[in-house]
């Protein structure tokens, strides 16, 4: 990624705000997170979240997709209202739901990744650092949605850069969908982890910006848009 957040390095501490409407989950997550993560705030509703985030300007927000308050838009509403901050604050969506509508809508609203709540403390800490570093965090399921939306066939003619996944990106997505970690993907494809991260970020950008016909159709079929 081009710009590097100063606090992004995995060895430094990442400042995090946890947004979830269940206090039990918040405290559990706080306990689970590694020492390198400093929880600077918590919020339980859309309005609280916007307020805490604008005040604390954390590196990463762990954002539950389903939140009370506001206009009822949940995590997506928080993202939309924090849109001006998206350059400095990164969002990692967190949810019990892995329904396509939830996942894709928060990603398209600007979240840099999506993990389910069953993830272990170790994994989520790694994901937080990765997001803090400006990279994207793809769960196997999110990779599956991407493949579903963009199709799995490699297309030779890339007339619209933004709207297609390159062969390499497809490969990376496929491996992630198969349950590979970034490290394993790198090993499998003989590339560096950094390159894997670049590919994943590129896919994320395409997912967020694409108006691709297939994506719209895919979303329409699932009544996401």
């Amino acid at each position: 990624m081009t710009e590097q957040n100063p606090a992004a390095d995995a060895r430094t501490t990442a400042r995090v705000v946890i947004v979830d409407d269940h206090a039990i989950f918040r405290s559990g997550l706080r306990a689970d997170l590694a020492d390198t993560i400093d929880v600077v705030g918590e919020a339980g509703s859309v309005d609280q979240a916007v307020e805490v985030i604008s005040r604390e300007l954390p590196d990463v927000v762990l954002l539950d997709v389903h939140l009370p308050g506001g206009l009822g838009g949940g995590g997506r509403e928080v993202l939309n209202r924090c849109a001006p901050l998206l350059g400095q604050v990164r969002f990692l969506a967190l949810s019990v739901s892995d329904a396509a509508s939830d996942v894709v809508s928060v990603i398209r609203a600007g979240a840099r990744g999506y993990v389910t709540k069953t993830i272990s403390g170790e994994e989520i800490s790694a994901a937080v650092h990765r997001v803090a570093g400006g990279d994207a965090v793809f769960s196997p399921r999110l990779a599956g949605f991407v493949l579903d939306a963009f199709g799995t066939a490699v297309e030779d003619i890339a007339d619209d850069e933004l709207d297609r996944l390159s062969a390499r990106e497809l490969e990376v997505m496929r491996l992630i969908a198969r349950g590979y970690s970034y490290k394993e993907v790198a090993k499998e494809l003989f590339i560096s982890i950094k390159t894997v991260e670049t590919h994943v970020s590129a896919v994320l950008r395409k997912l967020q910006l694409s108006n691709r016909y297939e994506l719209s159709r895919w979303a329409a079929e699932r009544r996401l848009l």
């Binding site: 739901s97 069953t118 198969r178």
Partner: protein
């Protein structure tokens, strides 16, 4: 009416000439319809007895649809019935409360009669009285005629027409009142209107003929004009009331539907989540049991909440998911499935599912950590990847007598024109199953354990 237990219930048949009475009777008695109809006609000729009997059955016997509605099996959940078919819910919240209370307390389903019975009893009762009076009158007339007393038929026939018309119209109203038969009423709306209009027309004609005393046409027309005017005026006055009534009725119906939905959700949560939570509390000691229960419940709830009802259950992705769920259930070990694309299930796909299932079983038994399953379907064929994070093993070192890997996975895939590749190292094992599309020109690779880095995805 004696009804032997083994006989089909007496209902008016849908295959009908007039009202389906004879057909229903024939089905009930097990006689040929022809004879029943013939008998009915003969009886009708014998002083009208058949007609009376026919009319009686017409009124008293429900149609097959109505009967089915009445006997419709209640929703499978123990608490849904309490709310899902309330005749007159006293108050939504109260009902729901009562329902969940009942569900949590006395729990299991008991046969459902109470309010329904009461209601069914009252209306036929009224009908019976009316009908009895009518029949007595008819009998009196017939007897009188038999005895040679002159009966003023000129008056009686219009009266009968009025009564008949009113009866038809009222029957219609009665049916609309059964608000919970929403779909039925809607489906029959055209027919309902026709019946209502026919009833009204009959009544009006009867009234006119009676009032005009079969007088001149001029008089009749005047009377008709007058009655139409009166009816129009009354209609104009009553219209707002009618509309308001209709709106209230619609609102109430919508509310009832919402209530039913809510009750269904409550029932589902009760049946699934609450039961699981209770089980988890009882088994809190065993981590594996708790994980298994939680996973199974999560899966079930997910399917219920986010499940794509449009999706055909007979498809490959569904089968892979089901296999994963089964493995998860039996071993209490999480198996995450990601599916991209889908395909209709063929016999070859069945083999793929079986091989994948075997691979999942191995992954769960011998591997460790999260087991990931990835299915990808495209025009080129279907691929399944099963990955675990166990200690790994040497595929070549597996003894020949171990059927699991050699026979159930590799052999099975080869027999169906596919390939199976097993890669294992200290970070885990991955089984790659590939099944090219039948007419596919790309030849399947020979099934031999590839070197670690051979990526064939």
């Amino acid at each position: 009416m004696k009804t032997a237990a083994e006989r089909p219930p007496l209902v008016r048949s849908g295959d009908r000439v007039i009202a389906g009475v004879c057909g229903g009777l024939a089905a009930h008695l097990g006689w040929p319809v022809k004879f029943v109809r013939l008998g009915m006609i003969v009886a009708a000729l014998a002083g009208g007895a058949g007609l009376v009997f026919y009319g009686w059955l017409w009124t008293m016997v429900p149609t097959a649809d109505e009967d089915a509605q009445r006997r419709a099996p209640r929703p499978a959940s123990p608490i849904a019935p309490a709310v899902s078919a309330p005749e007159v819910p006293p108050d939504g919240a109260q009902t729901a409360q009562a329902a969940s209370g009942e569900g949590a307390g006395t729990a299991r389903r008991r046969p459902w009669h109470p309010p329904q019975r009461g209601r069914d009893r009252t209306i036929p009762y009224g009908k019976e009285v009316l009908l009895g009076v009518g029949l007595l009158l008819l009998a009196a007339i017939l007897i009188a005629r038999q005895l040679g007393v002159e009966v003023p038929l000129g008056t009686l026939i219009p009266v009968a027409a009025i009564l008949g018309g009113a009866a038809i119209a009222w029957m219609q109203l009665d049916e609309t009142r059964r608000a919970h038969l929403v779909d039925r009423t809607k489906a029959d709306q055209a027919g309902g209107w026709v019946r209502l209009l026919a009833g009204l027309a009959l009544v009006m004609a009867g009234v006119l003929v009676m009032v005009s005393g079969a007088g001149s046409w001029e008089q009749t027309w005047l009377a008709l004009l007058a009655s139409v005017t009166v009816l129009g005026g009354v209609g104009l006055v009553l219209l707002p009331w009618g509309l308001k009534f209709w709106k209230d009725f619609e609102a109430e119906r919508a509310g009832r539907i919402r209530e039913t939905e809510r009750a269904e959700i409550a029932a589902h949560l009760h049946d699934s989540v609450l039961q699981t939570l209770a089980l988890i509390q009882r088994r809190a000691g065993s981590e594996q049991d708790v994980v298994r229960l939680a996973r199974a419940q999560e899966r079930e709830l997910r399917t219920w909440l986010f499940g794509d009802t449009n999706r055909d259950a007979g498809l490959l992705a569904e089968r892979i998911r089901a296999a994963a769920a089964e493995v998860e259930d039996t071993h209490g070990h999480a198996v995450d499935v990601v599916c991209v694309g889908d395909a209709p299930l063929s016999e070859r796909h069945e083999a793929l599912v079986q091989a994948a299932r075997e691979a999942m079983l191995n992954a769960v038994r011998h591997g460790g950590g999260a087991v990931s399953v990835y299915l990808e379907c495209s025009d080129r064929g279907a691929e399944v990847f099963v990955k675990d994070r166990g200690p790994g093993f040497d595929p070549d070192a597996v003894p020949a007598d171990r059927m699991g890997v050699r026979e159930s996975i590799i052999g099975r895939m080869q027999r169906h024109g596919g390939t199976a590749v097993i890669l294992s190292d200290e970070d885990g094992t991955e089984v790659r199953l590939s099944l090219p599309a039948p007419q596919g020109h790309d030849e399947p690779e020979p099934a031999k354990p590839e070197p670690r880095n051979g990526d064939h995805a």
